[in-house]
Every structure is written in structure tokens, then in C-alpha cells.
Symmetry: C3
């Protein structure tokens, strides 16, 4: 499952026609994380290490991917499933969705999900989820920054597609440049971050689509992206 | 008072029977911070330094403690009292509670409380509290991540004990391992954080309670922790 | 415009009579950011670099300024205008205000605004704004930490002035010391942060206004700042 997800995310990643990725699920559960049968002592620690490493690689791949990745969640997202939502750039969920890191209940603290969760929500929210294993509602997840938007179930696909179509209408080189710079500067000190971001702006202005967009704006016409 | 709190937090910290700590207060004030009489120039700067250093040690001790520390707040928490709430892993408060860093009013900026506050709430929330000294309500504190939960006063103890009992029902080695890893990875870069957390997961799977929990789940029975 | 703003912010910065700065605008737009005519290829990349560098210097100047800087927003704040709001210490807005980083629409990703935005709001909120270019309301901005306070338009000036007057009634050396320490410790590791903040407290206690404030409190009288 992890390898298949990895392969799907990497599929035609470099194609200029790929503008945005949506990760969704079928059925009442978005994802409940790892298959625990892979984590018994019938397998050796090397195998366990490989499982968590592959999972972590996928989460980092989402951030490093050239196009925005949207999670479309309709149902329960727990453990590595909650981590997947936290790792996407944008997350839209139906109001019946809920989110939990319940590993403590089965003696397996959600430490890898905690990496993504701790970077998405305030520390006390993350710690209560990790220590109690109790779920939070979609509304709470929105309030605390785990989700970008919550809608009624019947509008979930429409709203997600609206955002995806908006992103698909933009210049891919511009979006890619901006995404990479955003994550890179986020944990730098302020002077270094501004140095990087200012250089990114200069590079962006010099892109063909950068000039086209600026000129189209000045000339009050729609831009025509050349990618 | 600080030394007594430090000693209480350290009491039997290594006992496997200790599962969770609750910090609460009697009376209408949770804590209003330092005794200002200790901070006049009748005492020398070395003494002042010792006061702040002891206080800082306690705040770090809470994070470094092997079990979760819960603040149960019913009333006013100001200055180092607000810092104490911000430093706990989980904080439950009654809806009549309020929180402030009013040091500026008496010419003593809440710089040490700002360390904990600035890591718990968004920057603009912290700065407005620090610059104006004005209190925020329990609801605002919840909204901004300073609290984990707000309940009516009459439910405060019940709700806090519910969370504490839940944590006490879990495996202490698993919770301790997870808590330490969470704080350690939180400010690392993503790759380093995932490396640490993946290794933590492998170590957790190898714990006796890790295997017991996973097997109990697969066998659809309750786990029996061996700690 | 940027140079004029920079000069205004620096005006009498070292005067002990300056206690607080308010940045506001006339008309329905707070600021819509850069003049795009400066960013066409009629100017060379060195010029573009200078524009972004000047802008970044101003944003850092706000943080490094000895007194608190308040944004008073009544209307639309976009791109570098939104960055300016995010960069202020405190931001008060009317409920009709809105905030956006719409650069992607014209092929120019808001990378420099993203530096300030990514430090003010949760990551998913920042990314949705940056990737879609869509505005958020004042209430959403408050909820996510971009604003300190939202009021009806007719109360905007009164509320902003109330906060400004409160800050102006405080000791400037105390506020300056605290502001500088807050930003400095914010991204340090916890031990280093507490070391810095504890030393700041000791220095603050030793200030004339520090002793005056503490003694006035103990003697139950109003402090008289000597700055």
C-alpha cells in the first residue's frame, strides 16, 4: 500500500501537464495507518525500520513534490492516516470526518505521526491527541490548523475540485518555485529566510510566466501561461 | 514555593507506578507568579538570577519528565503562573479561568513566561498579552492553543481526572518514550525528525508492551501491560 | 513608497518619547503590495532584487524596532500589504477587512509575503492562501493568529488607540528590552531560550523602572517611570 501510494505520487511528477494531486479514499475510513500485522515480532526490527522509513519518505515526498498535494477526507483518519492529512499542503474534509493518533491504546505511541501533527497544530492539541488517543472532530481540526476547509459531505468533491481547478489554472513553474521556497524558508532565521525568498521573487519575475502574468495584469487581460 | 514544586514534580519520577501528574491550586488564583518581594534591590542580582533559573529549570523539568503533566486551572493564572500552564503537556481549565502576562504594568516584562507562551500560541497573541498585560479568557486561551480543554467549573475535576485516568491506563514506558521523542523532534528539520521518530517507532515495537499491545489488538482482546 | 515607509518607521526611533508606532492607510485598501510596473523586464534583475530587499529590510526593521508596531487595518491587505500586517507586533482590523496573497494569479508567487505569513498562521492556512490566492476574512485572520483583534469599523480607531495608549503608559526601556528578547528567544532551543530570558529578567529587575515598578506594586501606589 505504501509503495503503491509512493509510486502514484511520483507518477509523471515531472510532467508539465501535472498541476495538482488529490489523495482520497473509498469507504468510510480515509486511512487507519499501518497494518499492525507487519509490526509483530514475527518480522525482525530491520523490517519494521523499513516500514517506518518508507512511510516517512512518502510524507517528505509530499512536501518535496513540485505540485500542491490536497487531501480530500471523508471519514476517519487515524495514526499514519492522520499523519498523511497533516503532511499534505491543503486538506479538505467533510464535516463527518474525524482525526486521531490512537497508537497509545495499543502500546505503540504515534511518534512518526507526531512529526507531521506537531508541525500542523499547536503543541497542546498535538499532545492531547497523542497522549489520550481520542479523536477530534473536523471542526476542531479546522480550528487548530490541521485542515484547510470543512464542508458538508455532499459538497466535499465539488469544493476539493474547485480548489484543484483553481491551482490547475495557474502556472506550474511559478507554483513549484513558490512551494519549494515556502518550505525551505519556514524554519530558517528571519534574515536568511528573507534572503532566500527575495532571490526566489527575482527568479520568479524572470520566468517567462512571471513576465507574462505581470504584463497581462498591467494590460488588463488574462495571462496565457507558456508551460 | 518553587523548590517545593520542583521537589513534588521530581517525587518518585522514576517509579513505574507513577503514570501522570496533575498540577492544581486551591483558592481563586491558580498562580500569580513570582513573589515580587524577592525581586527588589534589597537582594543582589545573583539572587534574582537564581530565582529565574530555578523557575526555568522547573518549566524544562515538566517537558523532560517521563510522564505527562496536566495543569488543572480554576481561576487566574498570571506571569510565571501562566508560564506554568503553557509549559504543561496538557491543560484543562474551568470557563471562569483567565490568563495574563501583566509584568509590563509593574515594569517587569514577562520575558521568561514569554518563552513558554511564544511556543504555545501564535506570535501575535503572545505579543498582545506581553505588551498590554491584559488577560485573555479561557475560551480565547483554548482557541489559541494555550489550553487543551475548557469545561464548566463543576466539571473541572471530573474532566481532568477522566484524562488522567485514561493516561494512567496506558503503558508508562510507551508514553515516556513517545513524550521524549515528541519534544526532541519538534524543532528538528523534517528529515532529522523523521529519522528520530522512525527509530523511536522501531524501539517502541520492540518493547514488551509494544508487542503485547499489537498482539492484543490483532487477537481482539484487552492488552495487559507488564510494566 | 517603501523608502518613505522605512524612513517614517526609523523617524526618532531612538527618542525616549517614542513609545509605539501605528501603521494605517487612507481609503478602502490598506495596501496591495508592490507596484507591478517596477517588476517588468524593462528593469533589470538588480533593480528587482533591490525592490524585494528594501521590502524585506522594512519587515525586519519592524521586529527589530525598539517600540511595538501596530497595524490598524480597514480594508483589503494583499501581497506585501498582507506581509506588512503579518510583520507587525500587533494588528487590529475592522470586520470588513480581508487578507490575501494573490500573487499566483499573476504568475508571481508571494514568496516574500510567505515568510511573514508562515510565521503568523498555521502552515495549511498559509499554503491555501498562497496556492489559491483567495482572500480570508478578518474573522478567519483573527482565528488563525494573523490579527490580534477585530472590531466594527466605527470602533477601529478607538480600539487601536486604546491599545496604543496602554503601551504608551508603560516604561519604554522595559518594553524595548522585552520585545528584543521575545523575538530573539523564539526560535532558540528551550534551554538557550530560558538562559537568555532569565538574564533578560535579571537585567530588567536592575533597570531603574524595574525597581520603581516593583516597589510601587509592593507599596500599592502608581509607578512613576523615569525614562
Amino acid at each position: 500500500m505504501l509503495k503503491s501510494l509512493q509510486s502514484d505520487i511520483l507518477h509523471e511528477a515531472e510532467s508539465q501537464d501535472l498541476k495538482v494531486i488529490i489523495i482520497s479514499a473509498e469507504g468510510p475510513v480515509f486511512s487507519s495507518g499501518h497494518d499492525l500485522k507487519e509490526l509483530t515480532d514475527e518480522r525482525d526490527p530491520q523490517y519494521h525500520a523499513e516500514v517506518f522509513q518508507t512511510c516517512s519518505e512518502i510524507m517528505m515526498l509530499i512536501q518535496n513534490h513540485p505540485v500542491p498535494v490536497i487531501a480530500m477526507v471523508n471519514g476517519l483518519a487515524t495514526a499514519a492516516g492522520c499523519q498523511l492529512v497533516a503532511s499534505c499542503d491543503i486538506a479538505v474534509a467533510s464535516d463527518k470526518s474525524s482525526f486521531a493518533t490512537p497508537g497509545v491504546n495499543i502500546g505503540l505511541f504515534c511518534s512518526t505521526p507526531g512529526v507531521a501533527l506537531g508541525r500542523a497544530v499547536p503543541r497542546k492539541v498535538a499532545l492531547e491527541m497523542l497522549f489520550t488517543g481520542e479523536p477530534i472532530s473536523a471542526q476542531e481540526a479546522l480550528l487548530h490548523g490541521l485542515l484547510s476547509r470543512v464542508v458538508p459531505e455532499e459538497q466535499l468533491e465539488e469544493e476539493t475540485m474547485r480548489i484543484a481547478r483553481k491551482i490547475a489554472s495557474l502556472s506550474r513553474p511559478v507554483v513549484s518555485l513558490g512551494k519549494a521556497a515556502f518550505y525551505k524558508q519556514l524554519h530558517q532565521d528571519l534574515r536568511k529566510a528573507y534572503h532566500l525568498a527575495s532571490q526566489t521573487m527575482v527568479d520568479n519575475v524572470a520566468l517567462r510566466d512571471g513576465q507574462e502574468g505581470i504584463k497581462a495584469f498591467i494590460q488588463k487581460r488574462k495571462p496565457v501561461w507558456s508551460h
